[in-house]
């Protein structure tokens, strides 16, 4: 077992524990913090794959910016702890069960396949440090269209937010 393998299992375990903690904690603040732990462990996994840039972006964007906003909203609304009852009722419960089963099937399928194909070893062999230069070049040549479309979608969302906020202000006045 080489050091990378050990690190992989550590990061994997931390990320799983964090993910379970997100849905187990009753208090939204604790859930949000567990989610940050998961993001961190995933950044570690990206580093192991040689994708340093993706790891850094994962921490900057998700852990550094988006989760701060989550915490901000949770604190501002002062959400209390959730009670065990009433969280899942009626139709929602059925949907949850169906989706849960689907997810479990997917997970088992991937795990079985990975064991068969020894995908772990393959991934290890393919590990090669991806520099920002390569990512930039790919974004502006091969993946130019998806890149531009994504930026357009983000821009639309941005404008939408501004329009919504402006309308609210007008009715206030």
């Amino acid at each position: 077992m080489n050091p990378e393998m050990i690190l992989f299992f550590i990061f994997g375990a931390v990320s799983l524990i964090g993910a379970i903690a997100v849905i187990s904690f009753r208090h939204p603040i604790y859930s949000a913090l567990s989610l940050i732990v998961t993001f961190f462990a995933q950044a570690g996994l990206f580093v192991l794959l040689g994708a340093h840039f993706v790891a850094a972006v994962q921490v900057i964007v998700y852990a550094g910016a988006i989760m701060v906003l989550f915490l901000f909203v949770i604190m501002l609304l002062n959400l209390g702890t959730l009670s065990a009852k009433g969280a899942l009722t009626g139709k929602l419960k059925g949907v949850a069960i169906v989706l849960g089963i689907l997810l479990a099937v997917q997970g088992i399928y991937i795990a079985v396949n990975a064991l068969k194909n020894t995908a772990l070893q393959d991934a290890e062999a393919a590990t090669e440090t991806v520099t920002t230069y390569t990512i930039g070049e790919l974004l502006f040549s091969k993946y130019l269209l998806p890149f531009e479309v994504t930026s357009l979608i983000l821009l639309a969302a941005l404008i939408g937010v501004i329009v919504l906020v402006k309308r609210e202000n007008q009715t206030e006045n």
């Binding site: 603040i29 913090l33 790891a55 900057i60 852990a63 701060v68 915490l71 604190m75 501002l76």
Partner: protein, 410 residues
Amino acid sequence: MDNLPLHVFIISSIVKILIIAHLLIIGVMAMIWSERRVSGWMQDRLGPNRVGPQGLLQPIADGIKFLFKEDLIPNHVDKPLYVLAPVMLLVPAMIAIAVVPFGSSMTILGHEIPLQIADINIGILYILAITSLGVYGVVIGAWASNNKYSLLGGLRSSAQMISYELTLGLAIIGVLMLTDLPDEILTKLGDDEVNPLSLRHIAYAQGVHSWNILVHFPAFLAFTTAMFAETNRLPFDLAEAEQELVAGYHTEYSSMKFAIFFMAEYMNMIVGSAVVVTLFLGGWHFFGLEAIGGPFWSGVISFAILFVKTGVFLFVFIWVRWTLPRFRYDQLMNFGWKFLLPVALTSIVVTGTLYIATNGNRLWIGIGNVVAAFIVVAIVAGMLAMDNNSKSAVQSTPAAAPLRGLDAVE
């Protein structure tokens, strides 16, 4: 670097980590002393001068006092998070220094050892990522305290950090675009190609070309201002505004926990200064002084140069504190989004355009950056003035509404 034998690499890394970690803590003590003495000097009073010569032992006396104070945990706090919060602030402050090069390189016992703990290939992004995590200590500490003043401080801090982080990241891009190295330095460093994200390459590039502050002056101003905001220093210390919020996010903290908050703030300042010096002020270069002496002494001298530069910049921190009054909350947001962000964005556009147009002539890029920044600031200021005029014509200016929707907290 890569060519070091494993045992040399491990031993030298441990030594470097120990030295830098201790320097950070000693630096915090020096900052506490100099902040109080310089403040005294600027206000025409003495400051602490009783403990030791010139009051130099005052930080140690403070530390002992903090250690022996009762470690009070108030009744209604969220205990696990309340205890965790100071650590969540301290750890990012300490580990960010790992990628900052504190000198060129030093030859000891025939091994050339780079004076940097880790030269990872995403260098500057690592610093941005780590510093963006510091906000959690503030926010969690504020929330766990279960105190309205603390919560307000934490909310202000998180909004402020998110707003100024953008400028912090964008202001660097111009620097990254122009970072290049001649081949002989690259072979000396053992790298195949220039990696603009590496702080080491950025510092070496400033030894070859001019210092980045000359080429990217507006970006330097934007970055420095954003850094003041990120470290919660005056004029951006709304998270702990004494007159409004008692002490902001650390109101409920006492004893060593309070001291850790305090230490983290000073560490952030030290790391921030070292980063600004490396990015914009030439790193360890000082007009060829760093090349004097053999392979051993040039390393020592380059370290000393960086040390002095960082110290000077830290003095600027204290200087600004007693020069500028605190911003109002809406002024803070306006300044960040309407002035700093456009300036940072302009620096990217202008640097990129002029790099192509003038074939990478640094003089023209430098001039173009300053002129463009002036134009942008003038346009924004004009638009704001027009906006204010049309508003005051209809109604009297509405009172500042810091943090809309705060009634929801109650």
